[in-house]
Amino acid sequence: MPTDRMDEPLLAAGGVVPLDVAVAGTEDEPTSSRAALLRQGNFVVGVILLAIVVIPVLLAPVVSAVGPDVQNPTATFLGPSPSHLMGTDQYGRDIWARVVYGGRYTIGASIAVVILGGIVGTVLGLVAGYVRGAVGFTIMRGVDLLLAFPGILLALGVTAILGPSLVNAVIAVAIVAVPLYARIVEGAAREIRNLPYVRAARALGAGSGHIIFRHVLPGALPAIVVQTTVYLGIAALWIASLGFLGLGVQPPTPEWGQMVSDGQASLSIAWWVAVFPGAFLAAFVVGVSLVGDALRDRLNPTAAGT
């Protein structure tokens, strides 16, 4: 058992540096209070954006008088007005209603993605990092192989096998998330397994399962939380992208990406059909990344500075 890892800094970079952490860079000098204030400003903007998007989506039946699928042949392609905040589409459906109900599919699917991908990736990462040996080696080579595909390509490949649907889109995007989680958790687990308190637990006769769940997992948790906030935005983007490409949610179910694609045909006569769902998606993704950034600075002070 290697003991020479003991003097390595805890979670220095979690084994691998995810792109966003790498992007944030590591500036070793103390940041000024002004910079801290600007960062706090970003966090507040993020929270406001999320509130604007998430509250109407949660309260969809309250904020919208009509359902998302109610057609009205006498009210097609109406521009935004007090009675139709975001106008209507070619079937006279209310875009505001479709946007607030549609968010449930896009955001709900993204949450499903981070839960599914997060759990599978975390378990694989814990096993690979703690047990190591042939099992760990095999897991990590599989992870490397999956990472060799650009994310959307992997998602498209999985969709090609499973066929286009909302559930399959969730599975496809979750499969892209698995190696990202596995790598980060594996790095954390590898460092934590040799810390004195874990070795003490082992010396006291604690079983592997107990050590993994009581000692290693809590230590890896900050990295998992940061990864989840970062990936939630990416997941929403990809779920919507698959929807836009016609490979995710199928019409007439409203989903933001699919709605943008729906509205593209009538862009020159009714811009609102495509623009509003995309704007809500954009606000959600930007909001999540601003909040995620602030959270990363809080939980991982070495990456602060941007």
């Binding site: 944030a24 600007l38 970003n42 390509l153 992208s241 490409l245 954009a282 500075g305």
Partner: protein, 306 residues
């Protein structure tokens, strides 16, 4: 030389892994591979028998893989029954347009990212800095298909400067390249900023200033040179995002290309084309990553020299 050899070996292993996964894709689709490949033509017994023999379906899986790989290495990527032509011909028709788009997008991302990042670094912790980084983050998070649509709306519908459908002309390239480049520009910008800041505050730069070098020499010889390496890394990492981006951008602008070919073949269940495009894009991605790895020792003699 050892460094180069190791990298090349890793690439070969990775390419073998990628091709195994892509080969298995067809096995994972429900039903027989012959039915999947032939699609509508599966009712023709002669075609079924011929393809059965060609794929060696009565032989073991490793033998089938070997036959398939041998074909691929000889440029035989299969036959698209939907398009009534060899897949290699389809790819040949679509690849130049994708490379053109990716190249133009990368150029916009590099030039724009360097400008944005340098401005932010020089004006560190000021409003200019935080606005630049706010723009960078927003660009990263914006859904590219929606950004493309907004650009079409503004610069092709409202102001008729560019064609709505991106043809193969140079004018038709502007909006798609801008859509692709703007998304990546944010990542480059953030990275340029942090690596410039790191280089600016390192001790050799302080020493160079102390001995009285003018700021121009200090910037070019001591700051910029050290900031180049991480920027090259991130540009290398962007190749994946670039390829993923072309898929969506080509669909938004109805532009011919590998990405749109992939989406269309998934929708029409043209599995031979799906397999080949996934293989080509993944191999291209792996090879560019190798090129980036090989560039390191040239830019920084400390890497790979010993």
């Amino acid at each position: 030389m050892v460094y180069v050899g190791k990298r090349l070996l890793a690439l070969v292993v990775l390419l073998i892994g990628i091709s195994i996964l892509v080969f298995l894709m067809l096995q994972l689709i429900p039903g027989s591979p012959v039915t999947a490949l032939l699609g509508q033509s599966a009712t023709n017994p002669a075609a079924v028998a011929r393809l059965n023999a060609e794929l060696g379906l009565n032989k073991s899986l490793p033998v089938q893989f070997w036959l398939w790989l041998k074909g691929v290495l000889h440029g035989n990527l299969g036959y698209s029954y939907q398009n009534q032509q060899p897949v290699s011909a389809l790819i040949g028709q679509n690849l130049p347009s994708t490379l053109e788009l990716a190249g133009a997008g990368l150029l916009i991302s590099i030039v724009g990212g360097i400008v944005l990042g340098a401005v932010a670094a020089v004006r560190r912790d000021t409003a200019t800095d935080s606005v630049s980084m706010g723009i960078a983050m927003t660009l990263v998070a914006l859904p590219s298909f929606w950004l493309g649509l907004i650009l079409i709306l503004l610069f092709a519908v409202v102001l008729p400067w560019f064609p709505v459908v991106g043809g193969t002309s140079l004018r038709g390239l502007v909006l798609p390249a801008l859509t692709l480049g703007l998304g990546l520009l944010g990542i480059t910008g953030r990275f340029v900023r942090s690596s410039l800041l790191e280089a600016m505050h390192s001790s050799h730069v302080v020493a160079a200033r102390a001995k009285g070098l003018n700021s121009r020499t200090v910037f070019l010889k001591h700051i910029a040179r050290n900031a180049v390496l991480p920027v090259i890394t991130v540009i290398g990492l962007q190749v994946g995002a670039l390829l993923s981006g072309t898929v969506l951008v080509e669909v938004v602008f109805s532009r011919p290309g590998i990405g749109r070919l992939l989406v269309q073949s998934i929708l029409s269940k043209d599995y031979a084309t799906v397999q080949a495009t996934v293989l080509i894009i993944a191999a291209f991605y792996a090879i560019t990553n190798l090129v980036v790895d090989l560039l390191y020792p040239l830019l920084d003699p400390r890497i790979g020299g010993t």
